[in-house]
């Protein structure tokens, strides 16, 4: 039975229920409303982002649903992204962040994890200035604070 998802810019997306229920949020909503043809509004997700999210859910529709305890890996690694997911995440930074936000909002943990790992991989190896530049982050430290931070790190730079 298809489910109709409505993006924030009022675009309808008809997806299989199985695909839609990759989102825990949507799944819970469907359970709450029961059998209904009513479209499900997603005010926080634009059509462009929703397209990507649906693409991800379609690809992973047959993946086993992860239970929290199985995914609660205290030791998190970012180098185990599947190839398809890696290509999927090859988008501009804005879209990447949007996907992450959407995954967070829709409660699609695998997508959220992939997105976070992707961002982590972007951060790896970069200096603070490079990170700011990559993510358009404003440096809001005072000069004194920056001096303090620099002093904290000075011995870490030693070899």
């Amino acid at each position: 039975m298809p489910v109709i998802l409505v993006s924030s810019d009022n675009q309808d997306f008809k997806v299989d229920k199985e695909v839609a229920e990759r989102s825990i949020l949507i799944k819970n909503m469907l359970e709450d409303v029961g059998e209904s043809d009513s479209p499900i509004p997603l005010p926080n997700v634009t059509a462009a982002v929703l397209t990507k999210v649906i693409e991800y859910c379609e690809h992973h529709r047959n993946d086993p649903v992860q239970v929290p305890e199985e995914t609660d890996d205290p030791r998190k690694r970012s180098n185990d992204i599947e190839e398809w997911d890696m290509k999927f995440m090859q988008v501009d930074q804005e879209m990447l962040f949007e996907i992450i936000l959407a995954a967070n909002y829709l409660d699609i943990k695998p997508l959220l994890d992939v997105g976070c790992k992707t961002v982590a991989n972007i951060i790896k190896g970069k200096t603070p200035e490079e990170i700011r530049k990559a993510f358009n982050i404003v440096n809001d430290f005072t000069p004194e604070e920056e001096a303090q931070i620099k002093k904290e790190n000075e011995w870490a730079e030693d070899r």
């Binding site: 890996d73 205290p74 030791r75 998190k76 690694r77 970012s78 180098n79 930074q93 804005e94 962040f97 949007e98 992450i100 936000l101 967070n104 959220l112 994890d113 976070c116 790992k117 961002v119 982590a120 951060i123 790896k124 190896g125 970069k126 200096t127 603070p128 990170i131 700011r132 993510f135 358009n136 982050i137 404003v138 440096n139 809001d140 430290f141 920056e146 303090q148 931070i149 620099k150 002093k151 904290e152 790190n153 011995w155 870490a156 030693d158 070899r159």
Partner: protein, 780 residues
């Protein structure tokens, strides 16, 4: 600007970052700094430090721990500092310059009492449950002192103390480590450290630069009235747990299994413990001779802790049997690297079918050293290298296939000697407890195989023969000295003294042997009659007669053919019942007058010093070594290797002679051995004879001119030269600091004892050792 990621998402992202990147994210902006300091409880250092430094290659090793610090000893300075800094930046620790209360003060005594209470509590917990549990080492609110260590405090800390160590400043940490390494590599004494408050950070005491950054999440501390540095902050925040500081050896013998550490790493270890909040540190370095049960207890304890710091787990257990090693490995996933070279376990391991005949190869090398078969030894060494290389390759292939899941289930049995599956083969050949999982068995087998491959040929060279207690170098050294005994016979052919046939001075030899080897008359006569003496016991000079099989193996000696061809004087093993050595007299006098060959070794050997060297060597053996002790003094830290020989200087050689090796290493002059005379030979014999009794002073050639007249040139095929060449080759293989760090000292001991003074330079130049690392025992 694009969308901003929320707090919780950033926190999730930071969890995927290794600690090394935390230096950067903490400096991006305030929000990132706050999030990283607040939320990153786990520090995955696996990407900071190469896995090979600990061998932790499998994910499941980490699954039970909050985090694992991986520190490679070699890079301790750099990486430890990064770890520590990461811990600081994670908000788990801080530095302080404050000084605690005076020793003996009320606060001091109060902390002492509290620590003792906590220690008792920990012991009760350990007795109750030895399996991993988060609550095993849950800290209680215990006041901890912060002080500068002096003798009193050191004594106190050794008695009851559990404490956390925080250096005064970050730079102090590095400075301390550097200083300790620089001044005293071996000394493991606490110089100075400071303690830290458990369960919190005293905002008044810590004056480090991170104090301000900790303001937001530092809970209100209720300071103790007795000591400003104590506080009872919320347990959630910074549960800096005290920990014991004992060295592993101390723990081993004192049966105190709180934790152990290498004192050199003390400050860093304390900081790392502060990261975890559990304060449990394990350093198994130097755990020589520790009973396996103690090791298991230690590992069980640390396994039960949240934080485990693994510090160079290549520890050497010379007394552990293979079964114990397998049990230890199978029960402790943290143990992923083990060095069992020169242990009974190693002997048993390399004889298993999965090791493809490595044990037999080692036995063969022993025999080849005894026979001074230079070429065959080289060939066998090469075979061993090839074997180990193939083994390593097959291990990797097996691992790859297993990882790709292209193979049948692990439980499917395979031929025990299936070369494609060395790990699984070995896992089936090892003895395990009934309840050992297949995964544990596979892991254990892999660790053991990797260990053998890692040590490679060096491991074989470093391992003593089970029968004789001798390593290959020992055997060669013994052979060299034995050849030295025969050196008086290498006098020029014009000598009329029938010393070439040592049958003549039988009494002399018998006297020597009786004092030299054992008090048993049977052994001395056996020595005299057989020309060799080989013991069957743990020591070289056992009173038991060598087995006939051993002797039969020694004959015929390949040296015979070598000597016959080269014409050099040779020490042969007599196949007859002749009373003494029978030297090959096929060598014409012209052979003995061969000028000094281009052998560098020959040039270093000055037979002219033979009398002193001879007597010195004999007296050394006679005086210093109990029967069961290895002939060559071992590193005194090798507990269980014997009694740590400390031979006394030979009082007979009190003319300032250092040792036979030193004497032997003089550059020989080019005088022809034809200059030798009967008179000189007699004097040599007299010297040798006189050295038998300690009360008889040895007549040592005093004048340089006399020495020059007695100088000998050792031909290339002389046993001395051959043994030295073979030993040199083995030393080059043996002294690999990258594989077997502590071996350098043993190698140098062997080298110096054999007169390889230049070998020290070799070790420095080629082995990467420095003068400071080379500790030549003053045993000569």
């Amino acid at each position: 600007m694009g969308p901003q990621l929320p707090y919780e998402v950033l926190a999730l992202i930071f969890h995927y970052l290794p600690a090394s990147d935390m230096f950067s994210i903490l400096a991006v902006n305030r929000l990132w700094r706050q999030i990283s300091l607040m939320e990153t409880k786990q520090i995955d250092l696996s990407e900071c430090f190469p896995m090979d430094c600990l061998g932790l290659g499998d994910d499941d090793v980490y699954s039970d721990f909050d985090f694992v610090l991986v520190i490679k000893d070699r890079y301790m300075r750099d990486r430890d500092l990064r770890v520590v800094t990461a811990g600081i930046l994670a908000g788990k620790m801080a530095f302080t310059e404050a000084v605690g209360p005076a020793i003996g003060s009320e606060a001091y005594l109060e902390a002492q009492k509290a620590i003792a209470q906590r220690r008792a509590q920990q012991q009760q917990q350990q007795v109750g449950e030895t399996t991993m549990a988060n609550t095993l080492t849950k800290p209680t609110s215990t006041k901890v002192l912060r002080a500068t260590i002096n003798e009193e405090l050191r004594g106190f800390s050794r008695s009851v103390a559990t404490y956390v160590l925080i250096p005064q400043t970050r730079n102090t940490l590095r400075k301390k480590i550097l200083e300790r390494l620089e001044y005293n590599l071996e000394q493991k004494e606490i110089q100075e450290y400071s303690w830290m408050v458990e369960n919190g950070i005293d905002p008044f005491a810590f004056q480090s630069s991170t104090t301000a950054s900790l303001t937001h999440w530092r809970t209100t501390s209720s300071c103790s009235s007795s000591h400003a540095s104590t506080s009872t902050a919320s347990a959630k925040q910074y549960p800096l747990v005290p920990m014991t500081h004992y060295r592993f050896q101390d723990c081993c013998f004192a049966k105190d299994w709180g934790s152990a550490m290498d004192i050199n790493k003390l400050p860093m270890i304390g900081l790392a413990a502060a990261i975890s909040g559990q304060g449990l540190v394990v350093d198994l370095e130097g755990s020589y001779g520790a009973p396996s049960k103690s090791i298991k207890q230690m590992m069980a304890f640390c396994f039960g802790a949240h934080c485990v710091i693994s510090l160079d787990l290549n520890f050497r257990h010379t007394h552990m049997e293979l079964e114990h090693v397998a049990e230890l490995l199978s029960e402790n996933p943290l143990l992923y690297n083990i060095d069992i070279v020169d242990s009974p376990a190693y002997h048993d391991l390399i004889r298993l079918p999965a090791l493809r005949g490595l044990g037999e190869m080692m036995e063969r090398m022993q025999k080849l050293c005894l026979d001074l078969d230079e070429q065959e030894l080289e060939a066998t060494l090469q075979q061993a290298r090839v074997l180990l290389k193939a083994l390593d390759r097959d291990i990797d292939l097996e691992e790859a296939e297993r990882a790709n899941k292209k193979t049948p289930p692990i439980s499917e049995r395979r031929p025990l000697d299936d070369p494609r599956w060395p790990v699984e083969s070995l896992s089936q050949q090892l003895k395990f407890a009934e309840d050992t999982s297949i995964v544990a068995k596979i892991r254990t087998a892999k660790v053991l195989l990797k260990g053998v491959v890692y040590h490679g040929v060096s491991g074989l060279i470093n391992t003593r023969d089970r029968q004789s207690g001798q390593t290959l170098l020992h055997t060669l050294a013994w052979r060299r000295s034995y050849s030295v005994l025969a050196a008086p016979a290498t006098q020029p052919a014009n000598s009329t003294t029938p010393t070439a046939d040592l049958a003549t001075p039988t009494a002399t030899l018998e006297q020597q042997s009786s004092s030299l080897f054992s008090s048993s008359p049977s052994s001395s006569s056996l020595f005299a009659s057989k020309g060799y003496f080989w013991n069957q016991g743990p020591g070289l000079f056992s009173s038991s007669a060598p087995s006939s099989s051993t002797l039969s193996e020694m004959t015929p000696s390949p040296l015979m053919s070598g000597s016959e061809s080269s014409g050099g004087a040779a020490l042969t093993d007599s196949t007859t019942e002749s009373v003494s050595f029978e030297l090959s007299m096929s060598a014409p006098a012209s052979a003995q007058s061969t000028p000094l060959l281009a052998s560098g070794l020959s040039s270093l050997i000055n037979i002219s010093a033979l009398p002193a060297a001879f007597s010195s060597a004999l007296s050394f053996r006679r005086r210093s070594l109990p029967v069961s002790t290895l002939w060559i003094p071992e590193d005194s830290e090798d507990i269980g290797v014997g009694e740590g020989t400390q031979p006394e200087p030979d009082s007979d050689c009190d003319e300032g002679k250092d040792d036979s090796g030193v004497e032997m290493s003089r550059v020989s002059r080019s005088s022809s051995p034809d200059n030798g005379s009967d008179q000189e030979n007699d004097s040599d014999n007299e010297t040798a004879t006189s050295s038998n009794t300690s009360s008889t002073p040895v007549v040592i050639a005093a004048s340089v001119e006399a020495q020059a007249k007695r100088e000998w040139v050792i031909p290339e095929q002389h046993p001395v030269a051959i043994s030295l060449r073979m030993a040199r080759k083995l030393l080059q293989l043996k002294a690999n600091p990258n594989v077997y760090n502590k071996d350098g000292r043993s190698a140098v001991v062997c080298a110096s004892y054999m007169g390889f003074l230049p070998m020290e330079s070799l070790l420095i130049e080629q082995g990467g050792y420095s003068k400071e690392l080379i500790r030549i025992r003053e045993t000569m």
